[in-house]
């Protein structure tokens, strides 16, 4: 039995890799590729008549395999299926770090899952509130309700858009410049930031089109996404490279944090770094840059 530490609501989640929970050869060590989170899938990857078998596999995988620092999230079946309640029970009993709510459309959906999770935590003697939630927005309605979804529960750490279903609803296809989902991505990002949760982009499914993948990642970063959902380990590295802060950004962040500590100890609230006015509002951003830099292996300091 591998006891997992209490999940952190806000942590580095640049890469979330999907894995079929029913495939023993895949889930036994998905963490070796170095993604930040793995997403064990009980939904689309598992055939309708194997949902039960997948739960037994998932339970023992969660209880047996040492995933180390890699976050373990489970994608459960939609609330319109007969499976989701048992999915939640097995996730909580197995000690998954978080649950991804598929096809989420309203705050009520989140609350429904939240209540079932609380019930399961009580049933299995798990600290109430331990299990985190995230929501996948897969429909126009989900996007329209993004803010209420993000703000619906203290367990919520983020939202992700699911491109396949969403594009179908919108009668569009992936476009090289991302215009097909530009508004949806933007609206979801605004909602996530307003609610103070993280925001993740959809998967890029054409594994051979590395140029298209890179273009999408650059746009993701420019728009302010925290991370991306992935379908193959070979996609991990580019995200980590592109989402890494530059050397200049790291130096600047280090200076800001250091200067802030010194100045605030001396009672000064506003000061300048390299000629730029700095106050407390800059600190979270600078600290995030340093944490990201450390995770990327680019910085070894102890300021954060």
């Amino acid at each position: 039995m591998i006891p997992r530490p209490k999940p952190e609501r806000f942590r580095l989640r640049r890469t979330m890799m999907f894995m079929n929970a029913q495939k023993p050869g895949l889930i036994k060590d998905a963490y070796i590729y170095g993604c930040d989170s793995i997403m064990l899938d009980l939904e689309d990857a598992v055939a309708e008549n194997q949902k039960d078998a997948a739960r037994f596999s998932l339970y023992h995988a969660l209880k047996t395999i040492d995933y180390g620092d890699t976050e373990v999230i489970v994608r459960i079946n939609g609330l319109d299926t007969p499976h989701w309640q048992e999915d939640i029970r097995v996730c909580v009993a197995g000690g998954a770090d978080g649950i991804r709510i598929a096809k989420c459309e309203s705050a009520q959906d989140v609350k429904t899952v939240d209540a079932a999770v609380t019930e399961a935590e009580k049933e299995f003697g798990v600290e109430v509130g331990r299990t985190l939630l995230m929501a996948a927005l897969e429909s126009p309605k989900g996007i329209m309700n993004a803010y209420e979804i993000c703000a619906a529960s203290d367990r919520m750490f983020g939202v992700a858009i699911s491109g396949g279903d969403f594009r179908k609803c919108m009668q569009t296809k992936p476009q090289p410049d991302g215009v097909d989902m530009l508004v949806a991505r933007g609206q979801m990002l605004i909602a996530a930031r307003a609610a103070g949760v993280q925001c993740f982009d959809t998967v890029f499914t054409n594994l051979d089109d590395m140029a298209g993948y890179e273009a999408e990642l650059r746009q993701n970063k420019a728009m302010g996404f925290d991370g991306k959902s992935l379908i193959n380990p070979k996609q991990i590295r580019l995200v980590h490279e592109l989402f890494a802060p530059t050397e200049k950004e790291i130096l600047q962040a280090e200076k800001i944090v250091r200067a802030y500590r010194e100045q605030s100890a001396a009672g000064v609230g506003v000061f300048t770094v390299d000629g730029k006015m700095i106050d407390i509002a800059f600190i979270p951003g600078a600290e995030r840059t340093l944490k990201l830099a450390r995770a990327c292996g680019l910085w070894e300091g102890d300021l954060v």
Partner: protein, 100 residues
């Protein structure tokens, strides 16, 4: 648990096992083949028998075709087959109880 009807769980893919179970003749009858028989046959048998014992299955014919499954996979397949044979695999599974 009482095995009520034949049931199967698992696959013949590498790292998996196919477990079939049916009502027995008053005892556990296990047939086992494995791609790693010489090195792990004994341990696989122990895992399967322990799992059946934990589920209080005492009367069943069980066949395991192992393709190099880890213990956690073997347990999951045996448990699923047993629960399926009792039509009880879909909900209210005793996670952390007899499933552990």
């Amino acid at each position: 648990m009482i095995i009520q009807k034949p049931a199967v769980a698992g696959t013949l893919e590498s790292s998996d096992a196919l477990v079939s179970i049916e009502p027995g003749d008053g005892k556990i009858e296990l047939t086992l083949t494995s791609s790693v028989m010489n090195q792990y046959g004994r341990q696989i048998r122990e895992t399967v028998l322990e799992t059946l014992d934990r589920l209080s299955v005492t009367d069943a014919k069980v066949s395991v075709v192992d393709k190099g499954a880890l213990d956690c996979t073997l347990k999951a397949r045996v448990e699923c087959a047993v629960f399926r044979s009792c039509d009880a695999s879909e909900k209210d599974i005793p996670w952390g109880g007899v499933i552990r």
